[in-house]
Symmetry: C2
Subunit: 489 residues, 2 copies
């Protein structure tokens, strides 16, 4: 590999000669292992021109370094970093600890939390990954996506690709969402009531920022999506977790003085229950009378296996109390990082301004690729396929769960989704269970992280089937059952 | 166009019959113009299956609606929305104003500001767009980008495309940045000291969030990038704007008790001045002794027309006081929305956690496409080309500016960049000037938005040449000169 001339600088204010500076730079780079044995230095002509100095200066520096053994020369092909000069270990950072800036003091706000999620980025290397929310290569129409991406890279879409369009979104994608996606959820919205976001995570974050502050009170479901809990806690508002039951969030438990209620009404995360119609009406009425806003994360509605999924909570919302959060992570793939917010224009103006401040807008090319993928019907076809495959996997899961007498804690058959919310017998720590199972090639998600206060008896865990092939499910469940049995004794 | 069966829902709790509900839904959709004249309804068989009701119920509803004139039928090809039923204007929103949620109260934090930027999303439709920071289709190698994008959509990169990789980035792009981009700026960083962001805007925002709070003090340059001013003001910290002069920010003016200094040392925005080496050393020494952090936005360094751009401020930073902000918006295109932060690991851990909370990570596919575009040398080749073209445009600009005796307020010849910072004679309001020029097909950027306090005499404006072809520059400058002359009288 050739070392570029652009890597060299001279300091005009330095007391050292130009030649000395040059030699010093090369030696330091070698000792820091930035220049590696065998790499070629720029020619003396090239480097001299780049630095605006005499070629002789460079040639002399090179010759000196060769004499010292740092460089070698091969015929007429130039100077190379010599062998053997990097035998000593890489130099430690030269900073004197006393002189170093005090970052523990300089940091004005902390966002890293001690309560880390149990997430295994290496899950693909395990044979039985009961992991949630990741894409299965076998279920994604990569060829169609590639075609749409190419189309969105056409000359006619150049502006959309390259331009900073300030606060705006791709009008084609927004129109498709209002005309085709939202009506399927029973929602009628105008384009100015839709804002694209960097995934549902970003949509929830923007909503929390606009709606909450230190004097406000937020209700969240318990258990709930851990990402939401972190978002809400970060606003430093008062958080009231409400335990969900078989009908989801109980509206009659919402305390007076609540400002915002976050809910996954159609498909509670992680229990998969669906909020009953009676509770939905009750929730909306309370929102109207008590004056709180509702943020509806329309989580995984696409994965309903019944013929007609229940309409979104927002479809019943006459008073415009509901902010709706949609996502393409489940219907397309999570790495896409695209979602959207639907809400009243007053709210959306603030969310849009905040989005512009934080990141401007989601990349235009991605927005247009999704618009093509949706409007050409690829997404629908793929969802059909995923629903069939997931239904089959779910049946295999249920059979294996029943055979091994594992307990389903959340909603069971017919609830759809892509996971089961499970419970072990008492006295088993699911975080340790998950650790033990890794040694047996099995990945499960322990439950504690979904709860607002860590459970005294952390018995819950989640088993997802979006990324595990049907034929491995039975063996995977058998191993989980075996591990639970061993943990009991 | 066919209307999808998925758009229909039934409410099991409704007192109305199924047939009545169905008819009502169709009529409402027609009157709301969600179903348009000529669109075909789903077949009665399809809709009955979707809703889980008798086919006769659907057929009866359709027949009734046809009798009422809402639907028409063509031979045996199905039912269509009839002509003429949409003659009355679209119905107003059905919400009763009294019942509507009170969003002025529900919003807990406001982010929209009254001081809007003068930004014209329609700039492409003007013949003389002296507009900053947008890509010129003639200067971008779209074919090479398309090729890299296709490569990054290959099966081998599938995980990178689709996976939610939590807090991580594309290791290939990070490695390229540390091995090839940063050394050109004189910076040596390890991969764990680099964080990808949604553009430089996002990098600045993350830095401000981590470093500032209501009790902290931030120094910003005056004038400065308006996006930074908004970011810093939003943290509600104490803001101290420091007037820049011909050598950039004066470090001896930094007040005691400062916590963070934001600077565009290599290329001050918007004046294009370069901070002198003496001031850089002074700034770094003060940072170390007075204990403040520096955020260096390495703005447009690629656009230097001298042979060797001065190294970044961070390259001199022995005490690790400097957070470095890099961007691909100028070297690639602004719509890409990719940038990066380089800084001490303690700082980066907080920025990474905040990024995960706000948006997880920039889309993997984009990261990998950029990694390919850079490592295959396309970016370097393109930058070479852009530098040549910009140098030529700059010469044409300078000539025209001199001919019309317009005044350059910032750095002049040799400073590089892609714009001139200009000043009109006294008594001319540049915001009004910019408005007047639109009528003459010319877009300029008025200066007031760059200043912390609006100028008493708003005489400044910016003329950029990144998006205007050389041959139009002379005429554009002539029109600006003419408009200034007319405004004087």
């Amino acid at each position: 590999m050739a070392i570029a001339a652009e890597l060299f600088f001279l300091d005009p204010a330095s007391a050292a000669t130009l030649q000395h500076q040059l030699r010093q730079q090369i030696v330091e780079a070698i000792l820091d292992r930035r220049f590696l044995t065998g790499e070629r230095l720029p020619s003396s002509r090239e480097l001299a021109r780049h630095l605006g100095i005499s070629r002789l200066t460079v040639a002399t520096a090179y010759a000196d370094l060769m004499a010292q053994g740092f460089l070698s020369s091969r015929d007429r092909s130039g100077y190379f970093i010599a062998e053997g000069v990097q035998s000593r270990p890489a130099a430690p950072p030269t900073n004197d600890a006393e002189q170093r800036a005090d970052w523990s003091r300089l940091i004005g706000q902390r966002f890293s939390t001690s309560r880390g999620r149990f997430r295994n980025p290496e899950w693909r290397s395990y044979r039985y990954p009961f992991i949630y929310g990741q894409a299965d290569p076998a279920l994604f129409d990569l060829a169609a996506w590639r075609q749409c991406s190419r189309q969105a890279l056409g000359q006619s879409d150049f502006n959309l690709l390259t331009a900073d369009f300030y606060e705006a979104d791709d009008p084609e994608l927004v129109l498709y969402i209002t005309r085709h996606l939202l009506p399927r959820r029973g929602i009628h919205a105008r384009p100015e009531e839709v804002l694209l976001t960097l995934g549902a995570q970003n949509a929830l974050w923007l909503s929390a920022q606009v709606l909450l502050n230190q004097r406000r009170t937020a209700v969240i479901e318990n258990p709930c999506y851990p990402g939401l809990r972190q978002i809400v806690e970060q606003t430093r508002c008062h958080v009231r977790p409400l335990d969900v039951d078989a009908e989801g969030l109980p509206p009659d438990q919402i305390p007076q003085g609540t400002d915002v209620v976050f809910t996954t009404a159609s498909h509670q995360c992680p229990t998969n229950t669906t909020m009953s119609l009676a509770r939905r009406r009750d929730l909306l009425e309370r929102a109207q009378h008590e004056g709180f806003a509702i943020v509806e994360d329309d989580y995984e509605f696409e994965m309903s296996f019944t013929n007609a999924p229940s309409p979104a909570l927002k479809s019943l919302d006459r008073a415009e109390s509901v902010i709706y959060v949609g996502s393409f992570s489940k219907s397309l793939f999570p790495g896409l990082r695209l979602g959207y917010l639907v809400g009243p224009t007053e709210f959306l103006a603030e969310a849009r301004a905040l989005r512009a401040l934080v990141l401007r807008h989601p990349p235009g090319h991605l927005q247009r690729t999704v618009a093509y993928f949706l409007s050409l019907g690829h997404a629908d076809r793929q969802m059909e396929h995923m629903r069939r495959v997931y239904a089959e996997r779910r049946a295999v899961m249920e059979e294996a769960i029943a055979r091994h007498r594992l307990e389903i804690a959340g909603a069971g058959s017919g609830a759809g989704g892509s996971s089961f919310w499970m419970r072990t017998p008492p006295g088993i720590d699911t975080t340790r269970l998950a650790q033990d199972l890794l040694a047996q090639d099995v990945v499960i998600e322990p439950g504690p992280d979904f709860f607002f206060d860590p459970e005294p008896q952390p018995q819950h865990y989640r088993l997802a089937y979006s990324s595990i092939p049907s034929e491995r499910i039975a063996e995977g469940i058998a191993r989980i059952s075996g591990a639970i049995e061993r943990a009991k004794t």
